[in-house]
Structure formats: structure tokens, C-alpha cells
Amino acid sequence: MSSIPAIQQSAGKGAARAAARRANRKVGGYDRRPHVVIYVLLALVVLIGLLPLYYTLVIGSSDPVAIAQKALPQLFPDLSIFDKFKEVVNAQSFSFWQAVWNSVIIAVVVSASTVMFSTLAGFAFAKLRFPGRRGLLVFVIATMAVPTQLGVVPLYIVMSKLGWIGHLQAVIVPSLVGAFGVFWMTQYLEEALPYELIEAARVDGASMFRTFWAIALPAARPAAAMLALFTFVAQWVNFFWPSIVLNNQNPTLPLAVRLLQQNYFVDYSLIMAGVFLMTLPLLVLFAFAGRQLVAGIMAGAVKG
């Protein structure tokens, strides 16, 4: 029996995927379609998750009077929310598109670098033997236990010495690679990447880096896709640190949305419209990344 990765190398990804599907279909037991109860349970989970988004739409299309009167001012969103969207996009106190652009740059750069460096480090920690490996890994995990709140003052000192206050790199650089990602990739590759594959590549005379590139990276794909997604979202909604080092001349989206409530007189419908606009790109990303994720998992299931 030729394994899926072999097919992938000789005949390309599509063929590999088809082969995987075929292999799955041949086997009767595990791959039968699940019972309807499972769909019902999942639907419940997704519904609960959808409620907040739905709620933001409803509040976004209500007027302040109705919002003050009832917890649920109306049952369904309506078109009036588009006027609110316009109001957000044309807000006076900040440049909306500048904020979107900043958020995109930060999230893309940080996700890409996090995935790259985390996969490299995870590969080393999970599959290579070197002196101090265990101790260093414990150290990486330990850094997660440092309470973020107190790092703010010293980190700010570092950033101001570098002259980065008010610039995007003050947000980007500290989060280029995090302990979470390294730990995550380590644990994933531990399970998903059989030693035999690495040994085979080494026997063939591949260098360390080539082994990483050709063997570890494909195996890490599903985890990498997820890490990218998580990192992207986390950066997208990040508020505290950006609010300290950036300002409304050069904001990110969460800062901008918060600026919508700069009054004693909070217009919740406007804020919720802003929140929804802020979430929308993530939903679009989900639609794409989701397909990638499923495909990645299918193609990346390396079997020894």
C-alpha cells in the first residue's frame, strides 16, 4: 500500500486528497455519516455562539429610546443599521480606513511570524534531541505565567527608548512570536509527526532545514492554520496594549470602535454597529480559513 504522502510527492496534492478520500470510503466502519442527534447538539452549540452577533445587529438597528426601554428592543435587525455603518465609517474622531489598514497589517504580520517561528521552534522541541531541551521548553511555558498587567510599565520603557511609541511596531514586535504558539506546535508535532519520517529524510541526506521544510511543515499544516487563525483573531480584538502605545491619530479597529463612545451620552446602536463592522472581516476570514483548515487537516494527516 502506498501512503498518502508518497502519492502527494509523486502526483501532487489533489491526487493525494482523492486517494485519502478513497481510502476513507473503502473502510466502512468509522466514516459513516453520524446520527442526527449529533447535528442537533452541534446546532445548539453554534446557536448559543451566534447569539451575541445577532444581538449586536439587533441593537445596531434600534434607536436609543427602544434600547433604553427593553433588553431586546426588536426581534430582527433591519436596514437602518446601514445608516449606522455609514456613520461609523465617516466618523470624525478617527479615520476608519486607517484603523482597518492598521489592524490588517498588525494581524497579518503577527500571524505570519508567529506561525513561522512557532513551527520552527516546535519542530526543534518536539523532534530534535539537544542538550537543555526539556529545561528550555519548561522555561518557554513558564514565561506564559508572567502576569501581563505588570509588564506594561517596563515594556513601555523599552518601546519608548526605541522611539516606537505611536508606531505599529510597538504593537507588532512584542508579539512576533509567543510562548503559546511554541508550546502548541511542540505538542502537536509530538503527536502528528512520526520519527520514522524524519529519520528517513535524514538517511536520504537531507539537511536539517530541508527536513523541516519537506517533512515537518506539511505535517504541521492543520495546526499552523489554526494557530494563524487564533493569532489573527487575538490581535484583531486586542485592546489594552495598543491603547497604551497607539492613539487615535493612528488607531487599530478596537481603539476606533471604543472612540465611538466618547461621551457621557453613549449611543449603543452606533457602538454595536461598529462592533459588527469590526467582526465582519473575521467572519469573511473564517469562511476562507475554514475551508483551508478542513483541507489542511485532510492533506496533513501524515500516517507512519
Binding site: 434607536d63 436609543p64 429610546v65 427602544a66 434600547i67 433604553a68 426601554q69 470624525q92 474622531s93 506594561v152 510599565v153 517596563p154 513601555y156 520603557i157 523599552v158 519608548s160 527608548k161 526605541l162 522611539g163 511609541i165 505611536g166 491603547s243 497604551i244 502605545v245 492613539n247 487615535n248 491619530q249 481603539l255 471604543r258 472612540l259 465611538l260 463612545q261 466618547q262 461621551n263 457621557y264 451620552f265 453613549v266
Partner: protein, 440 residues
């Protein structure tokens, strides 16, 4: 010695990180690294001054652009934080980190003054003949350090009146006209006893409570004391011996007054919802509170403002503009702050954002005296709050420990009034314990 160590540490760290990054550290854009407190106001070089505000100070771009007319070389930029808490965290963090990245002019709220006045050396002294007598003493005194430095120019104030629901008054057989209500509550010489007495009359005839929150009443009572928790030299009065605080506490937690309370914590969800449910008929109401009341009372008509406040005048809230001493253009920034807090500009800010000006001269301005609030039954709010402003006589002294001590008592009141999880006696004991833990 101490200072040098810290500077050395910061510099080493900075150098180390620069070396590590091996980046050519581009020229610092932030004023603040070089501590050149008080550069000359050389008025020919083009400079950019930043003003950091929060909420809405009413400084629109057009208004800031006006500064160019008299100072052609100065461009003014504003950075806005959404909430005062955000601005506060921002300011304290940057001050703690040595002042880098601060704006040339930083807005602060009156509640932050105690700790900022302690570090008056971080701010430029703003005393000048030009602004002498611009404000009442109660506005300038809290912003003055022990050695006489003025660290902030007042922008707006929160003179307090009584907001009331005329429809609920009517249903309970009380007068509804704002002048009559002011009279009913005691007029010029209104006392807290008057206020509670009328409340009793009202509560007997209505299902609604008389006021929203015992905590708010306590705050107003304490704000009318010159020395609530600390002596003039800043030493803290032990809470167990503090008859002033204890009397105020006993008043608001007494059975009679508790019977008038809606038992709500201000700004909580329940408080917000109570506006819709006729939860209470009156509120202690600084000028800026008219906004939240209107917002929470969607669809409710009947709010009005009475030109009266128990126990003399009262102030709640208000802001200042400060100039951090570390700024590269400190002198020019001082000039800008003086201009921004001048009566005529603050009137424009009032027209833009409804912030009630703190400059005595501004109170005579027709734009202010003629201001009416449609939601409050067209009450002449400009005139009413102007009168309330003039009635403020006491400047409460707030030292560095004011809020820590204040919180121990307000927590106790919350237990009695909102949570109803303890009786007044037990809760007071809790306040004494919490005070003990402060280690003052």
C-alpha cells in the same frame, strides 16, 4: 543617588535592547526623552502641539484650528481616549515610564488630582497673571501643590442641582413647577433634612423610591466637608475617630433614609433599567448628568431640574488641562492650555459638547445663560447650573489617601444599601477593618 540608579537602569536597558535589535534607532519623535523642562516659547519655529483629552471636551478640529490665527507657527493636534479610565491608565503608565510619549497638554479629571498633586514636579507650574481670578477658589485649590504650584487649568465643572420626575411628583400630590419644587426642598437654605422630609411625604404616596442610591447621597455629604478623611497637613484621621464620616454614614444607612432609597449602585445595569420603571423620583444631578439621564430615559417625559441643592452648593466632577514638565515645548503648551481654558473658548466647547464652563466670566455669557434643555421640559439649564456653581462654598481637601479611605466607607454603604447583605453596624465594622488593612 537614587535618581541616577534608575536613570542608569533605564538607559542601560534602552541601550541593550537597541544593541540587541541592531536597529539604527531613528530619531525619537516623542518629546519627553530629553527632559528639557520649559523650552523657550520661541514663536517663529513651526511646531506641533498635541492635546490629549477623553470623552468629549468639545474641542473640535475647527476650534483647534482657530489657534493658528494668533499663533501661525503652531499646529494643534488632538488625541482622544474614549473613557476617562483609559486616559488615566495611559497617563499614569507614561508618567511611571519617565514621561515619554505624553502629549504636550494632558487633560485630567478632578478625581485624579490627589495623586498628581503629590508629584507636582512632573508638571509645569501654570501660575500666571493672565489666568489670575479666572476660576473660583474651589476649582484652583485642588490643583495647587503644597508649595503653591498650579498644575492644572480648569476646563469644566459639575455643579449639582436636583433633577426630578414631575410626573411622579404630580401623582404623589407634590408641586411640579421647578421654582415651587426648589422652594419645597428648602430653597436657598435647603438642608438634607428638608430633602429627606419631602422624600418621606413622597414615599408615603408613591411606589417609587425618592432617590436612586445612598452612595451618591453620601458622596455629596462628604463633598461638602472641607476635611473629610484627612487633616490639612495630609495626615489621615483614623476612621474609628472620624465623626464626620461616621455621621454621614449613619445618615444614609439610617432606617428613615434607607426607606427612601431605590437601593441601586450608580451605573449598574439595574440602575440603568430603573429609569424605565419609575424606580426613583429625584437624583442629585451635576450638569453633565443630564446626558446619561436623557439617554436612559428614552420614551419617558417628565424630567425637570430644580435650582436647589441640600446643604449648600456641591460639585461632582470636572476636568483640567495640565502640561507635563518633560515636554519639549512646555512653554508653548502652557500658552495653548491657557487659551483653551479661556472663557470664550470654553463657551464654544460648551456649545459643542455641553461641558459646563468653570470660568466665572463665562457664566455671564448669553450663550450660556440662554441655554435650555428640551428633554428637561426646556429647563434653563445654563442659568440653573450657573446659580448652583456660584453656590459652591466648600473646597474639599483630598490628600493622597482620600480615595482609599473613601472606598472603605462606600463599600460598607453598598453592602447596606445595594446588596442588603449586612446591617449598618456590621458593615461599619467591615469598613474599620478595611481601613486597618490600609496600614495608614
Amino acid at each position: 543617588m537614587r535618581k541616577t540608579t534608575r536613570k542608569f537602569l533605564a538607559v542601560t536597558a534602552g541601550v541593550a535592547s537597541v544593541a540587541l535589535l541592531a536597529t539604527a534607532c531613528s530619531g525619537d519623535e516623542d518629546p519627553g526623552d530629553a527632559t528639557s523642562g520649559g523650552a523657550t516659547g520661541d514663536s517663529s519655529k513651526p511646531i506641533t502641539l498635541t492635546v490629549a483629552t477623553f470623552n468629549n471636551f468639545g474641542y473640535t478640529d475647527e476650534l483647534l484650528a482657530e489657534y493658528k490665527k494668533t499663533h501661525p507657527n503652531v499646529t494643534v493636534k488632538q488625541t482622544v481616549a474614549a473613557k476617562s479610565e483609559d486616559a488615566r491608565t495611559n497617563l499614569t503608565t507614561k508618567l511611571a515610564a519617565g514621561g515619554a510619549g505624553l502629549a504636550d497638554v494632558e487633560a485630567i479629571e478632578i478625581d485624579w488630582l490627589p495623586e498628581l498633586v503629590q508629584s507636582g514636579d512632573k508638571f509645569l507650574d501654570l501660575n500666571s497673571d493672565e489666568v489670575k481670578d479666572r476660576w473660583l477658589e474651589f476649582k484652583t485649590k485642588p490643583a495647587t501643590t503644597a508649595d503653591g504650584k498650579l498644575i492644572g487649568y480648569g476646563t469644566d465643572v459639575g455643579p449639582e442641582a436636583i433633577c426630578y420626575r414631575s410626573d411622579l411628583f404630580k401623582a404623589a400630590g407634590l408641586p411640579t413647577d421647578r421654582a415651587e419644587v426648589a422652594e419645597l426642598l428648602g430653597g436657598e437654605n435647603a438642608t438634607w433634612d428638608d430633602y429627606f422630609k419631602v422624600g418621606k411625604t413622597f414615599a408615603d404616596k408613591s411606589d417609587s423610591a425618592w432617590f436612586d442610591s445612598a452612595g451618591a447621597i453620601y458622596q455629596a455629604l462628604i463633598n461638602q466637608q472641607e476635611f473629610a478623611y484627612e487633616n490639612a497637613d495630609g495626615s489621615v484621621v483614623p476612621l474609628a475617630d472620624n465623626t464626620t464620616a461616621q455621621e454621614a454614614y449613619n445618615t444614609v444607612t439610617s432606617d428613615e433614609v434607607q426607606a427612601l432609597s431605590a437601593h441601586l449602585g450608580q451605573w449598574s445595569e439595574d440602575w440603568t433599567a430603573a429609569f424605565q420603571k419609575d424606580g426613583f423620583a429625584t437624583m442629585l444631578c451635576p450638569a453633565w448628568m443630564t446626558g446619561p439621564i436623557e439617554q436612559n430615559s428614552g420614551g419617558i417625559t417628565g424630567w425637570d431640574v430644580a435650582d436647589v441643592f441640600p446643604g449648600g452648593g456641591g460639585n461632582w466632577g470636572g476636568s483640567y488641562l495640565t502640561v507635563p514638565a518633560a515636554g519639549a515645548n512646555a512653554e508653548a503648551a502652557k500658552e495653548l492650555a491657557a487659551w483653551l481654558t479661556s472663557p470664550e473658548i470654553q463657551i464654544k466647547a460648551f456649545e459643542n459638547a455641553g461641558t459646563f464652563p468653570s470660568q466665572t466670566e463665562a457664566l455671564q455669557d448669553p450663550a450660556l445663560t440662554g441655554a435650555k434643555n428640551a428633554f428637561f421640559n426646556d429647563a434653563p439649564v445654563g442659568e440653573i447650573f450657573g446659580n448652583r456653581y456660584a453656590a459652591i462654598k466648600v473646597t474639599p481637601f483630598k490628600g493622597p489617601n482620600y480615595f482609599s479611605v473613601h472606598t472603605t466607607v462606600t463599600d460598607a454603604i453598598t453592602k447596606v444599601d445595594v446588596e442588603q447583605s449586612a446591617d449598618a453596624q456590621t458593615a461599619w465594622q467591615g469598613a474599620l477593618d478595611a481601613f486597618g488593612a490600609l496600614g495608614l
